[in-house]
C-alpha cells in the first residue's frame, strides 16, 4: 500500500481529493475554500498600517492560517515519508522547449538552477522570486481569489466572476510562457 502511495498520484485521484476539500471545509464549519486570503490575513495581522482593506477581525478568519500552515507541514511529511525516489516525469516536449531557453529538467519539483539561494541577489532572483511572487499576491487579491478560491470553489458554485478570472489566469500564463519567456530569459 505505502508503495502505491509513494508513486505520483494520477490526475483523477488527485483532482477528486482536491475537489473534496470544498465540501469538507463547508461541512466542518461553513468555511469557503480559498488560499490567497491567507496572504491578506497575514497583512492584517502583521502590517495593517491603518489601511482600511486590512482593518477587520483577522482572528475570526484564522482557520485559514491554520490551513496554510497545515499545507506546509503536509508537504514536509510527504517529503519525509512518501517521496518517490524516481525523477519527476516531465513531457519530452516540455524538456526540449525548456532546454532551448537554457533551463535543464533536473528531475526535481523545481529547477534548482533557478530556485536556489545563490540566485537571490541576481536578476534571475529578482524576476523569479520577487517579481513573480509580487504578481501572485497582487493579482490574486485584485482578482478576488486564486486557483482554489476562483477556479475550484467559484466554478463549483457557478460564479461568472470565477469563470472570467480563471480564463484570465490561463491567458496570463500562456502570455508569459509563449510571448514573454523567450526574451525575458535571454535578458537574465
Amino acid at each position: 500500500m505505502i508503495e502505491i502511495i509513494r508513486q505520483p498520484w494520477t490526475w483523477y485521484v488527485s483532482g477528486a481529493l482536491i475537489g473534496l476539500t470544498v465540501p469538507a471545509l463547508l461541512l466542518l464549519g461553513n468555511k469557503h475554500f480559498g488560499i490567497s486570503s491567507s496572504l491578506r490575513h497575514i497583512c492584517a495581522a502583521c502590517i495593517p498600517a491603518k489601511i482600511p482593506f486590512f482593518q477587520y477581525d483577522w482572528k475570526r478568519e484564522s482557520w485559514n492560517l491554520f490551513f496554510v500552515a497545515g499545507i506546509a507541514a503536509g508537504a514536509a511529511l510527504a517529503l519525509a515519508f512518501l517521496s518517490n525516489p524516481a525523477p519527476v516525469q516531465v513531457s519530452e516536449n516540455t524538456v526540449r522547449d525548456l532546454a532551448e531557453l537554457g533551463i535543464v529538467a533536473d528531475g526535481h519539483m523545481m529547477p534548482a538552477s533557478i530556485f536556489s539561494f545563490e540566485n537571490l541577489f541576481t536578476l534571475k532572483g529578482l524576476v523569479f522570486f520577487v517579481m513573480g511572487g509580487f504578481m501572485v499576491g497582487f493579482g490574486t487579491r485584485y482578482a478576488g481569489g486564486c486557483t482554489s478560491g476562483h477556479s475550484i470553489m467559484g466554478l463549483s458554485t457557478f460564479q461568472l466572476s470565477s469563470l472570467i478570472a480563471t480564463c484570465c489566469f490561463m491567458a496570463g500564463g500562456f502570455a508569459m510562457v509563449h510571448l514573454i519567456f523567450p526574451w525575458l530569459l535571454k535578458l537574465i
Binding site: 461541512l27 497583512c43 490551513f67 508537504a75 476562483h150 458554485t157 500564463g173
Partner: protein, 169 residues
C-alpha cells in the same frame, strides 16, 4: 444551503471583511486552537495531495501552459467536477455543517479586477510555478528559497490593499 450576495453582506448573519474570498460563516463560537486544529489537519492532507499530485511542480505548470500534458487540466477539471457535485449534494439534501448550521455560499463579486488581477496573477503563476497554495507546499517540501516568493506575495497583497481605491474595479 443559502446563497449570499456580498453586496448585501450587512444583512448576513456574520459580518466579513469586504470581498473575503474564503469567509468563515460559522455562527457557533470558535476557540483559537481547539476549533482550528481540524483545519490544520485538512491543510496537511491538502499539502500531501499537492505534493503527490505534483501540482506544486514548476515543470508541471510549464507543461500546462505549453499544452504538452493533460495532467494539470485533468487535476483541475476533476477537482471542479467533484466540488460541483458535492455542492449540489449539499443543496439537494440540505446538509448541515457539523455545528448543525445551514451551509452558506457567497456570490463572488464581478468586477474588472477579475480580468486585470487575473491576468497579473496568470503571468506570475507561470514565473513562480505556483499559485498561493503550492507556494506553502513548495516551502514545506524543502525549497526554502520560496520563502522569498511568499514574502513578495504578501507584499503584493499589501500593495493591493494600499492602492485598492485607485484601481479600476
Amino acid at each position: 444551503m443559502k446563497i449570499i450576495n456580498d453586496e448585501f453582506v450587512e444583512n448576513a448573519v456574520v459580518i466579513h471583511p469586504d470581498e473575503c474570498a474564503a469567509p468563515n460563516d460559522q455562527i457557533a463560537p470558535e476557540t483559537t486552537i481547539a476549533s482550528n486544529i481540524k483545519y490544520l489537519a485538512m491543510g496537511m492532507l491538502f499539502g500531501i495531495i499537492a505534493v503527490k499530485s505534483e501540482i506544486i511542480s514548476w515543470y508541471r505548470i510549464q507543461e500546462m501552459f505549453r499544452l504538452q500534458s493533460f495532467h494539470m487540466y485533468g487535476v483541475i477539471g476533476t477537482a471542479v467536477v467533484t466540488g460541483l457535485v458535492s455542492v449540489w449534494l449539499i443543496k439537494k439534501f440540505n446538509l448541515k455543517t457539523m455545528q448543525g448550521e445551514e451551509v452558506i455560499i457567497h456570490e463572488k463579486p464581478l468586477h474588472w479586477g477579475n480580468v486585470i488581477g487575473g491576468l497579473i496573477f496568470g503571468l506570475g503563476w507561470a514565473i513562480t510555478g505556483a499559485c498561493p497554495g503550492p507556494l506553502f507546499a513548495q516551502l514545506g517540501s524543502g525549497f526554502l528559497i520560496v520563502i522569498v516568493t511568499l514574502l513578495s506575495a504578501i507584499g503584493g497583497t499589501w500593495v493591493y490593499g494600499l492602492l485598492q481605491d485607485k484601481l479600476p474595479h
